[in-house]
Every structure is written in structure tokens, then in C-alpha cells.
């Protein structure tokens, strides 16, 4: 069991989806139960992965390696390291929440749950793959289920949003495919046989010129996913029009694939090009932080507001990664997890509100706190975590990013900090308009508080939000060795010396604990 733990985690959801095909369409209860059971099972195996994970190692653990397409050197090669570990756990953690959030889907629930489960396998595959062709298959494999989740179960402008999402992602992905093929043949030139194995490719000495082109090809795919300004325009549409589970998946996990891609591929494989790209990427990230936050403040639609806040928050992730300091890298990685939790929770809560009132317009609400106090309390905690209140998870990541940026360039840190301030403005203002004040609209009096099932979905998220906020050490120390290794590859002269690693973990822990 232990040596195949990652395979179990990876394939359980798809297996569940395939078995789902044999459940009769009208047995809705069985369908929901089966989906929940499958996702909880995956969560279980992912927690086992977490338990077996050796936090002192920087390399890949629990590796499985089998031949797949021998003729072109592609293999089934999976493994987990400190960068992917938490993203895998986050994915497995969010999926049961998605199933609970979609409990009331009435339009073809069998297909909905089936696609949701298939999507989980694709997402986990992207994080776990150590073979570039395998990685690409999972990367594009995500597109189809996500496309249907948005297009079939979304809101009014769903078709437009779904097609836009599909084409943006596909175009970026195809350029990456060209890059992957070129990398395979670089391996052939160096070793005499074509290979897409990550470990082989990461040892190649690529010329600066080739690095630059490949960096651009991979950047196209990852920048669309993050999304970086000006490639972000698919995001507000897709997030707003997607059903609640779709929004949680998009914001919680899919956006992280961009940041993960930078950490796993762009930085270690093309270090020279990554160094050269820093000013441009950082500029785009900073524009994203400020622009996203300003646009947020003007939104009338709650879901759209959260969607734009993602652009701003993901700007922090990219900034943290591309300042190349260990604080920045840790902050960026932790911010990915934090953002997945808090934005996922926000979309979940807005989804509950929509189910009650069938509107997402901020102006249609007011005084909700009086009729649904528990709901309002949960929303407040999550909103505060999203805006970076110390003691909650958002703070740790953003603080580390700003700290990391400050070491590198003070101006960057100052501009990024304005994003935090603006986040407080738009989120608290939105909170005030929705939850406080008199109840002007009669329908709002009838808003129910959270039900047991809804609470079951929200409480774990809030618990994780608080946990990371007060005790980030177990999270940071597991990602540190792997991030040091990435840093050692991208920064000339940097070494992954253990003493420094220990010091900065301590600093980060103190920061989080304060």
C-alpha cells in the first residue's frame, strides 16, 4: 500500500467516476453519497501521504516509475515533494467541500459528480507528474471536465465563459506542448535518447537562447492559468458564471497550477531565462495586485468581486516566487494554499447565499447578520483571512511575500503592500453592505442560517484557516527544503545550506505566531 500510495490518491477519483457510470440516473442519493465517499477516501490517502512525508528531504518521495510509451521515452513517473505536498492535500481537502456544496444540483447530478471526480484526478495528476508528457496529458485533461462544469451547470452567460476559458487555456497549453517536445529533443541531443523524464530534463544544460524560448512557451501556459495581467480576462467570466463547486475548484486549485508550474518547471529548468524575466514578471504581478484590488472595489456582483480579488492575491504568489528569496518562495507557496482555502470558502458562502436569494448583487442585500448570525460570523472570519488579518492564514503568506520582496527591492514591497490595504477596503466595505444596516428588502428577512450540511462544508475550511494562521510551522518546514533546492538552481551562488533553512523557518514561525 505504502509504495503505491500516490497512485491510489491519483486514481481513486477517476475510478469513482467510472463506477458512477453504472449508478442509475434517478438514484440521486446514491450518486451524492458515492461522490462524497470517493472524495473523502482520496482525502484519507492524501493524509496518509502527508503522514509518510519525510520533512527533512528536498527531493521527490514515494516515487513510482513505470514504462508507458517506451518508443518516445515517456513514463508513468509520479512523486511528491515539499512544493506539491500541500497542494495535493489542499486539492483532496477541497473536493469533499465541493461535493457538499453541490448537494442541491438537480440538473443531471450523475454527470456533474462524475465530471467533478474526473477533474480531481486530472488536477492531482498535474501536481504529481514527474514526466512532462504525463504532466501535459493531465494539464489538458483538466480542460474538458472544467469546460462542462462551467458551460452546462453555470449561470446566465455560461457558454461564453466556458468557451473563453477553454480557448485561453488551450492556446497557452499548446505553446507549452511545443516547448515540451523541444525539451524532449534537447535530452536526445545530450543523452542520445529522447526523454520527457523530469529528473533527466532538469539535469540538462540548456543554452541561454533555448532557455529564453522555452521559458516563453511555458510562461504562456502558466501565466494564463495564474492569471497574470493582461491574460486575466477569462477569469472573472469563468468564476462568476461557474456553479459554486466550479468556482471553488477554479479559485481553490486551478489557479494554483500556474504558480506551481513556475516553481516546478520555469524556475528550475530555465534559471537563466527566469532571472532575465524577473523585471517583466514582477511588473505584471504588481500591476495585477493593484489593478485587481481597485477593480474589486467597484464590483456590484459579489462573485465577480471575489473573482477579481483572486487576481490581486495571485499577484502576491507570483511576486513571491519571482523575487527568488526563501521568504518570498515560502510565502508564495503558502499563499497558494491559503488563497485556496479562503477564496474557496468565500465562493462556497456566496453560493449558499445565492441558493437562498437567487441573486448575487450586493445592493440586493443588507442586514443579513441579523437573520443569519452564524453565517455572517463565518463570512467575517473568511473575509478577514482573505484580507490578511494577523492570526489567520492570509497574513502569513502575504507577510512573507512582502518581506521577501523588501529584501530584494523596497519599491516592490511598498506597491505590494498597497494591495493589502485595498483588500481591507473592498472586503470590509462589501461585508458592511451585505451584512450590516437595516433590512430594506423583505425577502432578506426570510434568509435561513447555515444548515448542518452547509456547516459541515464550511467548518473544516475555517478550521484550516485558523490553523495555518496560528501555527504555520508544520506547513512551512515541509516546503522549505524543496524550495531551497529550487532557489539554489535559480540564484547563482545560493546554496541549500541547512542552517540558513532552519533560521528562516524560525523567523517565519515567529511571524505567523505573533
Amino acid at each position: 500500500m505504502k509504495q503505491h500510495l500516490l497512485s491510489w490518491t491519483l486514481w481513486i477519483p477517476l475510478g469513482g467516476a467510472i463506477l458512477m457510470a453504472f449508478v442509475p440516473r434517478d438514484r440521486v442519493g446514491l450518486i451524492r453519497g458515492w461522490a462524497l465517499l470517493t472524495t473523502v477516501g482520496t482525502l484519507g490517502t492524501s493524509l496518509a501521504v502527508l503522514a509518510y512525508f519525510d520533512k527533512s528531504q528536498a527531493g521527490f518521495q514515494m516515487v513510482e516509475h513505470h514504462q508507458w510509451i517506451r518508443a518516445i521515452g515517456a513514463s508513468y513517473h509520479i512523486g511528491v515533494d515539499g512544493i506539491s505536498l500541500w497542494l495535493v492535500v489542499l486539492t483532496a481537502f477541497l473536493w469533499p467541500v465541493c461535493v457538499l456544496a453541490s448537494w442541491n444540483v438537480t440538473k443531471n447530478p450523475k454527470m456533474f459528480m462524475g465530471l467533478l471526480l474526473a477533474l480531481e484526478t486530472a488536477v492531482l495528476g498535474v501536481f504529481l507528474s514527474l514526466d512532462l508528457l504525463l504532466f501535459y496529458v493531465f494539464w489538458e485533461g483538466m480542460l474538458v471536465p472544467m469546460y462542462f462544469l462551467i458551460g452546462y451547470w453555470g449561470y446566465e452567460r455560461r457558454v461564453y465563459a466556458a468557451v473563453k476559458f477553454f480557448l485561453y487555456t488551450l492556446l497557452g497549453g499548446l505553446l507549452m506542448l511545443a516547448g515540451i517536445v523541444v525539451l524532449g529533443f534537447q535530452a536526445k541531443h545530450a543523452l542520445g535518447h529522447i526523454s520527457f523524464d523530469y529528473k533527466v530534463i532538469s539535469k540538462l544544460a540548456l543554452s541561454h537562447d533555448i532557455q529564453r524560448w522555452l521559458f516563453i512557451a511555458f510562461f504562456a501556459a502558466f501565466a494564463v492559468k495564474v492569471p497574470l495581467f493582461p491574460l486575466h480576462t477569462w477569469l472573472p467570466d469563468a468564476h462568476t458564471e461557474a456553479p459554486t463547486a466550479g468556482s471553488i475548484v477554479l479559485a481553490g486549485v486551478l489557479l494554483k497550477l500556474g504558480g506551481f508550474g513556475f516553481l516546478r518547471y520555469s524556475l528550475p529548468l530555465f534559471p537563466h531565462a527566469a532571472r532575465a524575466a524577473v523585471p517583466y514578471v514582477v511588473a505584471l504581478a504588481l500591476i495585477g495586485i493593484v489593478y485587481g484590488a481597485i477593480v474589486c472595489a467597484m464590483q456590484k456582483d459579489l462573485k465577480r468581486l471575489i473573482a477579481y480579488s483572486s487576481i490581486s492575491h495571485l499577484g502576491f504568489v507570483v511576486l513571491g516566487i519571482f523575487v527568488f528569496t526563501i521568504q518570498g518562495l515560502q510565502g508564495g507557496t503558502l499563499q497558494m494554499v491559503s488563497h485556496g482555502l479562503s477564496t474557496g470558502a468565500l465562493f462556497l458562502l456566496v453560493g449558499f447565499l445565492y441558493e437562498r436569494r437567487h441573486t448575487r448583487e450586493i445592493a440586493d442585500f443588507g442586514g443579513i447578520a441579523a437573520v443569519a448570525p452564524v453565517y455572517a460570523g463565518m463570512f467575517l472570519i473568511v473575509a478577514l483571512s482573505s484580507l490578511g488579518l494577523p492570526g489567520l492564514n492570509g497574513f502569513v503568506g502575504e507577510f512573507l511575500v512582502i518581506l521577501g520582496a523588501f529584501v530584494r527591492n523596497r519599491t516592490w514591497a511598498v506597491i505590494a503592500a498597497t494591495g493589502v490595504i485595498l483588500a481591507a477596503v473592498y472586503l470590509l466595505w462589501a461585508y458592511q453592505r451585505v451584512f450590516h444596516g437595516p433590512i430594506d428588502i423583505q425577502e432578506n428577512r426570510a434568509v435561513r442560517d447555515l444548515s448542518f450540511r452547509e456547516g459541515l462544508a464550511v467548518v473544516p475550511l475555517v478550521a484550516a484557516i485558523v490553523l495555518i494562521g496560528v501555527w504555520p510551522k508544520p506547513f512551512l518546514e515541509r516546503m522549505e527544503p524543496s524550495l531551497q533546492r529550487v532557489r539554489a538552481r535559480v540564484v547563482v551562488g545560493a546554496t541549500a545550506e541547512p542552517a540558513a533553512a532552519l533560521r528562516s523557518t524560525k523567523a517565519a514561525t515567529q511571524v505567523g505566531g505573533r
Partner: protein
């Protein structure tokens, strides 16, 4: 002069096909009221026999019949594609022809003769045999395109195909004549030994003529104009057969002529075919966006796919040949699958051809729409389908030959192409159905054909190892 020795084993597949064709023709002539399933069964039996004979040759690598017929990997692999195409065409057409009231007996011999021509073309190692085989495959196809005699579109399709096909044959013949003038031989391997030293102007002119002839047959831009009209008008089962079969046979011959005969001159023809490949991918993908008729859409898609195979041809390597063969196999199954879905989309004589007819079909018939979605995603090249693996091998071969520019054009046009396949998927799943019943027209044979195509499309996407290996070993010419 000694009597030439006849290599019976090497021509056994063609003999089986032609024998089956003559048998079905005679049965139909003398017993016109014979049950159609007897004819269909005989056709499938002769295809099976031909497959057995082809398989029997799998370890042979030789040139027989005085150097005019090659028995090598390329020929055998292409033959297997063509025989599979023929069998699929019979499966998907059986009920379709009955429904359209055009189930006449001569359908089966015509298909068999066309297939025999295609397999000969794939193995032809002499330009004269190339021409002969091309005519043997084209003449039955002209008739098949006009098989729905009372349908104006079918008539138009047949006439267009015939006129432009005759035109392209003339180009080809002219090229062969010039080549003979320049090198004093028509043997494909013979030409390769002399062509470097021959009169260059004659050779280039001949090469251009041959390229034009082949580009007509495989529907490469700018010689693609006939494709949409012919594909649209011909009976759907014939269109599927034509799209998959002609392309496979045409490309096998094109590969042989250009890589073997003109191998020494590859630096002269590669830039030209480079431009043709780019044009074919771009025009095929861009024009398809505006199509609202499904068969026309698939016609433009077939043009775009010809462009991807041309990318493999331009790679001019064993890897390129292997990638082209693999792609042709994948394309045969996914495009026949898509055409079969059109056939299965409605009972009675008329299929759902307009995009709006497909609206909301996913809500009424999820399994049907799911299978169609599979074929469309494969045509678009989304993993984990066979279409993705095909594209991947083509792009690999191109990068390996230093044609990275072509790969970039290829991926960009793939993104454009995804848009129009997506339009069909949007119509099927995301638009509301028209009120009223939405009957489908499946039949056992059709379902069998569709299942085979669907299984192959998934299996080659997930586990292509065996066939890649086979194509790798096949991607070498003899002679």
C-alpha cells in the same frame, strides 16, 4: 525475353479484394434480388482474407514484380489502415443505404475495387503503377460519390470530383512523362539513383507536376477547393470512406515518391511543401470556423489534418514517416467515427447536417452525444485521445528534423481548430433542444462500427506504445 515471375504472395491481398469484388458483382448481376447482407458479408470476408494475406507478409521486406511493387513496412501499415477503413465503411453504410433507398448491390464491388486501388497505390514502387492504382481507386469513387442518383447534391459531388480528379490525374501523368524524359525510368527507386545527375529543369517541372497531382488527392491547399462540395454531396458513408482511405493511400504514395525518388533533392522540395503545409493547416482551420454544416465542417477539418500529415512529410525522416502513418491510422478511425455519428443521428433518409439540428442532443441522448464528443475532442487533439498522440508524434518528428517553426504554426492552428469542434460540442450540450421528439437511427452494424472507432480512439490515446513501435518499424522504405 523470360516471362516475369509473379510474386503471388505479395499481390494476394489485392487478389482477395478484386476477387471479392468480381464475385459480389456477378452475384448482384445474376441474382439482383439477393439479400444485401450476403453481399456485405462477402465483402467483409474478402477484406478479412486480404488482411490475413497482408499480415502474412509482415516479416517480408522486398521489391517484387520487376521492381514495381514494394513489400515494406510503409506499404503493409498503410494496407492495414485501408482494410480497416473498408471494413468500417461497410459496417456504417449497411443500414444507411437501406434508409436512403440506395441500397443497390454494386455498392460492395465498387468499395472493394476502390480499396484494391488504394492498397496498390500504397505499395506502388513504379510511377506507372502509381498512376494505374490511382485510377483504379478513383473511378469507383466517382461512381460512389454520385451513388444517390436522385439527389442533386450527390450528382454535383460526383461531377465535381470526376472533373477535378481527371484534371489532377492529368497533372500526375504529365509529371511522370517528364520524369521519364529526364531519367529514362519510371521506377521509384531507379529515379532516386539518377535524379541528382539529371537535367534539373525537367526534374523540377516534373516534381512540381507530381506534387500538384498528389496535393489534389490528399486535399492540400491550394488544391483543396473540391473537398467541401464533394464531401457534402456524397452519401455520408462514402464521404467517410473517401476521407480516411484516399488520404491514407495518397499520403503513402506521396511519402514514397518524395522520400525515395526525390530523397536526394529534399532540400529543393522541402521548402515548397513547408509552405503548402502551413497554408493547408491555416486555411483548413480558419475557414472551418465559419461552417454551419457538419459535413462541410468535417471536410475543412480533413484539410487541416492533411496539413498535419504534411508536417510529418516535410520532416523527411524515418520518424516523420512513422508519425505520418500513425496519424493516418488515428485519423481514419476518428473521422470515420464522426461521419458514422452523423449517420446515426437520425432515422429515415435525412441526417442531422446543420449545426442547429444538433442543439440539445446531449440532454436527450447523453451517451450518443458523449461518443460524438469523444471523436470531436480527438479531432481537436485533446488528451487523452488518439488525436493528441497523433499530433504529438508528428510534432516530435518535426522538431527532431529542426522544423520547430512548423510546430508553432501547428499548435496555433490546433487552437483555432479547437474552436470549431467546440462549437459542435456547445450545440450538443449547452444549447436547449428544440421541442419535439429527437429520434436517433442506430443499427447493430453501425453500433459495432462506432464501438470499434471509439475504443481505438481512447486506447491509442492512453496506450499507444504497441502501434508506435509498429509504425516505427514500418517507417522505412525498401528499394
Amino acid at each position: 525475353m523470360p516471362t516475369p515471375e509473379i510474386a503471388w504472395r505479395a499481390i494476394a491481398p489485392e487478389l482477395a479484394l478484386v476477387g471479392g469484388g468480381i464475385l459480389t458483382l456477378l452475384i448482384d448481376a445474376f441474382r439482383p434480388r439477393v439479400r444485401r447482407d450476403v453481399l456485405a458479408g462477402l465483402t467483409l470476408a474478402s477484406v478479412g482474407l486480404a488482411s490475413w494475406f497482408t499480415f502474412d507478409l509482415h516479416d517480408k521486406r522486398e521489391v517484387v514484380m520487376q521492381g514495381s511493387l514494394a513489400v515494406d513496412g510503409v506499404a503493409l501499415f498503410a494496407k492495414m489502415i485501408l482494410l480497416a477503413t473498408c471494413a468500417m465503411a461497410v459496417l456504417i453504410s449497411y443500414h444507411y443505404l437501406t434508409r436512403r433507398r440506395i441500397h443497390r448491390g454494386e455498392y460492395y464491388p465498387l468499395i472493394l475495387f476502390a480499396t484494391a486501388g488504394m492498397t496498390l497505390l500504397a505499395a506502388a514502387n513504379d510511377l506507372l503503377l502509381v498512376f494505374l492504382a490511382l485510377e483504379v481507386l478513383s473511378l469507383p469513387l466517382y461512381v460512389l460519390a454520385g451513388f444517390a442518383r436522385r439527389d442533386d447534391a450527390s450528382q454535383e459531388s460526383a461531377v465535381k470530383y470526376f472533373l477535378l480528379g481527371a484534371f489532377s490525374s492529368a497533372f500526375l501523368l504529365y509529371g511522370i512523362a517528364l520524369m521519364y524524359g529526364a531519367t529514362n525510368t519510371t521506377s521509384i527507386s531507379g529515379i532516386s539513383r539518377i535524379v541528382g545527375a539529371a537535367e534539373p529543369r525537367l526534374v523540377f517541372f516534373a516534381m512540381a507536376m507530381l506534387a500538384i497531382g498528389f496535393c489534389f488527392k490528399v486535399a492540400a491547399v491550394p488544391f483543396h477547393m473540391w473537398t467541401p462540395d464533394v464531401y457534402q454531396g456524397a452519401p455520408t458513408s462514402v464521404t467517410g470512406f473517401m476521407a480516411a482511405g484516399t488520404k491514407a493511400a495518397g499520403f503513402a504514395a506521396l511519402l514514397r515518391v518524395f522520400l525515395v525518388s526525390f530523397g536526394p533533392l529534399q532540400w529543393d522540395w522541402r521548402p515548397v511543401l513547408w509552405i503548402v503545409a502551413v497554408l493547408t493547416m491555416v486555411v483548413g482551420s480558419v475557414v472551418a470556423i465559419t461552417q454551419t454544416e457538419l459535413k462541410r465542417l468535417l471536410a475543412y477539418s480533413s484539410i487541416a489534418h492533411a496539413g498535419y500529415v504534411l508536417v510529418a512529410v516535410v520532416s523527411a525522416s524515418n520518424d516523420g514517416t512513422a508519425a505520418a502513418l500513425f496519424y493516418l491510422l488515428v485519423y481514419a478511425f476518428m473521422t470515420l467515427g464522426a461521419f458514422a455519428m452523423i449517420i446515426a443521428s437520425a432515422p429515415g433518409g435525412h441526417e442531422r447536417l446543420s449545426l442547429s439540428d444538433w442543439q440539445g442532443i446531449g440532454q436527450r441522448h447523453p451517451l450518443f452525444a458523449g461518443v460524438m464528443t469523444l471523436f470531436l475532442l480527438s479531432l481537436a487533439g485533446i488528451p487523452p485521445t488518439a488525436g493528441f498522440m497523433g499530433k504529438f508524434f508528428v510534432f516530435s518528428a518535426a522538431v527532431s528534423s529542426g522544423e520547430t517553426g512548423l510546430v508553432v504554426v501547428g499548435v496555433l492552428t490546433s487552437a483555432i481548430a479547437a474552436f470549431f469542434y467546440l462549437r459542435v460540442i456547445v450545440a450538443m450540450w449547452l444549447q436547449e433542444p428544440e421541442p419535439g421528439a429527437m429520434p436517433l437511427g442506430p443499427s447493430p452494424a453501425l453500433v459495432a462500427g462506432l464501438s470499434i472507432a471509439a475504443v481505438v480512439t481512447i486506447a491509442l490515446g492512453v496506450w499507444p506504445q504497441g502501434l508506435i513501435e509498429l509504425a516505427r518499424n514500418a517507417g522505412i522504405f525498401t528499394g
